[in-house]
Amino acid sequence: MKFQVIIIGGGLAGLTAGLSLQKKGVSCAIISSGENALHFSSGSFSGECPEEVVPLFAEAGVVLNGDPSKDSWRLTPSGSMQKVRLAFEDVTLYPSEKVKASKVLIANPEGFIDFPTAFIADGLSQQGIPCKVKSFSLPCLKTLRESPSEMRSVGIAKKLDCRINEVAGAIHKLLDGEDLVILPQVFGLTSPEPVRALRDAVPAEISFIGNMPPSVPGIRVQMQLKKAFERAGGTFLMGDTALSTEISEGTVRFIRTKNLDSHILTADNYLLASGSFFSKGLSSTMEKIYEPLFGLDVDYPAERTQWYSENVFAPQPYMAAGVVTDADLHPMKDGKPVTNLFAAGSILAGEKNAGMALTSTFKVVKKIAL
């Protein structure tokens, strides 16, 4: 099958590239083996973000808070403040390193252990903001607790999304003059409506703070972007893996996938957006770090002892490993650029965050859709 562009990886970078290109009339296929880092997202984007992302996502129904060219701060589940650029609408952003509230209610569904309420309360009291932690229960959550694997963010969202009035009622009862309510991200799995409805129904600001994965807003955004891509005519090969390829005379000739076996896929241009170690875009042995699909040149510290820092809280050097590219984001193989291949997202060497993933993605989109 032939496309104008084949994208390997259906995470933030791959989906954004696909959606943007497809809307410009460039036919794309995205090959995506399993779900991606969005499913573990905090709901906010760190790092410098390109402006184009805001209107593109808005067309797909994804509202982003914040200003792509200016820093904002969000309250993290560990109670600290983090500098970010953009966030899903669930997350409240502040113009400075301080939460805007005079009194806070932290409300957690009873029995939900993936939300570190004590850390958040601690962080707020360090900012001098009084707060109380309360749990609320609804009859529907009782049945959920019978199954241990269900008292997780997504299981709760599936129950609460259709009972926003009941949730609002329960929170109302706990309110005692607080002007900010902090809740875990367990609302709005298939649409942002429940998040909006809850904000409308409660007479205080609500901020939804990240909890242990999976990320409910991350899954929602992934589904919204995928849907918009497919409705724009894009082809999404869900659960398939690019297995092998051929590069000759500095160009990629085709891609072979696990599911399509002998049926090869060809394109004018290819985009590698296969993520970092977590998504298997990069792999390692005891001796080396490598890019498994194309065998591209990878940048990482030569000595294995330099891969790690002994301080577990310090940035780990191996995390910055990634493919080497030229200025146009063509990856290098054996020191020479592959001319019809681009790389974007956290497969690239350097710092990994959503801002960097999006910036590199839009750079590639502009090159391809000249």
């Binding site: 694997s149 269900e150 599936k158 899954i219």
Partner: protein
């Protein structure tokens, strides 16, 4: 051997990083609190079962074997295979009479078809439905697929077989129980389209039910017998270089992937010769080897539903690719959702409500698509969607048969 190879495990279960993404996408979890979900039933439970089979939980029977957990798992764990294999290995419960009846699609078909008009009448009577509901626990809301008076095999022998000799190029057709007993028209459409492309159709010497319903009803021994028999018939044809085509995505998936993974029947000699008909046609046309000529007057707005097993197979693009070739068609891809029937699952009284609740997202999506009809490669999805939404469901091959100018296509492929 590398370190990674040495630490490999059956169905990759050691790769699980406990992220619960599989549980987030499992269609059964939100509707059935008794089902522990794929993470718990699969890799987590496997660890315990390896210690002591007593840890096997009969609630694993609620798994639809839809494979959605595998499609989304970021670590490549074959979650559903772990669950199904555990059922085969450890389950002590014997299938009920009702389950055996529902699973024995070809036995049932052979028995009742000669009395088709009577049986259809009886099956659709309120009183029969109530009795089935009470005695057999087959839900009374279900409309049984109609049995057809003349089966496809018999129609083929009397009306088509002789004329197939004129074609040099040939394919073998695995029609499946549904085409044979319930809906021969799809088989007839297939023969029509193939012949127009200048290709003759043969049947296998002996075709048995692929066994999918037996696997899900705890009858793996019987399923394995069928698998061995089909494997022998298919090997023979494949050895002669011929392709074997099927119109059912579930039969195709079962024979390609469940035979080796679950039933331990080696199909390496013919696995790549067995294709879904839409893939075969798409490849023949896109390579320029064959031509399709469509009628100018054909116009339709079609919503396409990818069945779970086709999603897992990853071949939905061939069906949508073919439909997109028709000039007068507007194609709306429906979101990836399970319809809830999962073969015989939804027919069981205890599953009826869960089945409809699972399908709701798909039904809503269909309602908002505003299409003339739904296209889909799976027969059981067809029953479920037609019963639950009132929308007509056509197989992509039937869509082709209706959209093609058969004479001009035959001319172009001379």
């Amino acid at each position: 051997m590398t370190l990674q190879e040495m630490t490999g495990s059956a169905h990759n279960f050691e790769e699980c990083m406990k992220c619960t993404v599989c549980t987030a996408y499992c269609p059964v979890v939100p509707v059935n609190p008794r089902y522990p979900g794929p993470k718990q039933a699969g890799p987590d439970g496997e660890r315990l079962r390896l210690k002591d089979p007593e840890f096997f939980d009969e609630a694993l029977k609620y798994c639809l074997n839809c494979k959605r957990c595998e499609v989304v798992c970021p670590s490549g764990v074959n979650v559903a295979d772990i669950i199904q294999e555990a059922r085969i290995r450890y389950s002590k419960s014997k299938p009920k009479l009702r389950d055996r009846i529902l699973a024995s699609t070809d036995f049932m078909g052979t028995m009742v078809r000669p009395f088709a008009p009577v049986v259809n009448g009886v099956l659709s009577l309120g009183i029969t439905k109530s009795v089935m509901d009470g005695v057999l626990a087959v839900d009374k809301h279900r409309t049984f697929p109609k049995y057809s008076f003349e089966g496809f095999e018999s129609w083929f022998k009397h009306n088509a077989e002789a004329s197939q000799k004129q074609y040099k190029e040939k394919v073998a057709y695995f029609h499946g129980c549904y085409v044979n007993y319930n809906f021969p028209q799809l088989g007839k459409d297939f023969v029509k389209v193939m012949n127009a492309m200048g290709i003759g159709v043969e049947l296998l010497d002996k075709e048995k039910c692929c066994g999918v319903a037996m696997i899900s009803n705890g009858m793996s021994e019987a399923a394995r017998k069928n698998a061995l028999s089909n494997s022998a018939s298919i090997s023979k044809v494949a050895a002669s270089g011929m392709r074997i085509l099927a119109t059912s995505s579930t039969c195709t998936f079962t024979m390609r992937d469940e035979y080796p993974e679950l039933l331990k029947v080696d199909n390496s000699a013919w696995r790549n010769s067995l294709l879904l008909a839409t893939r075969f046609i798409y490849e023949a046309v896109s390579s320029g080897r064959k031509k399709l000529v469509f009628r100018d007057s054909y116009k339709a707005r079609i919503a396409y539903h990818t069945p779970c097993h086709l999603e897992k197979l990853g071949w939905g693009i061939f069906s949508t690719g073919l439909i997109k070739m028709i000039p007068g068609v507007e194609l709306i891809p429906l979101d990836s959702n399970c319809c809830g029937i999962a073969g015989t699952y939804g027919f069981k009284k205890e599953n009826y409500e869960a089945s409809q609740a699972i399908g709701k997202a798909l039904f809503d999506d269909i309602a908002s698509a505003g299409a003339d009809f739904v296209a889909c490669d799976c027969e059981t999805c067809k029953w479920q969607i037609e019963m639950s939404t009132g929308n007509k469901v056509l197989h992509p091959i039937t869509v082709l048969a209706e959209a093609l100018d058969l004479d001009l296509t035959a001319e172009a492929n001379k």
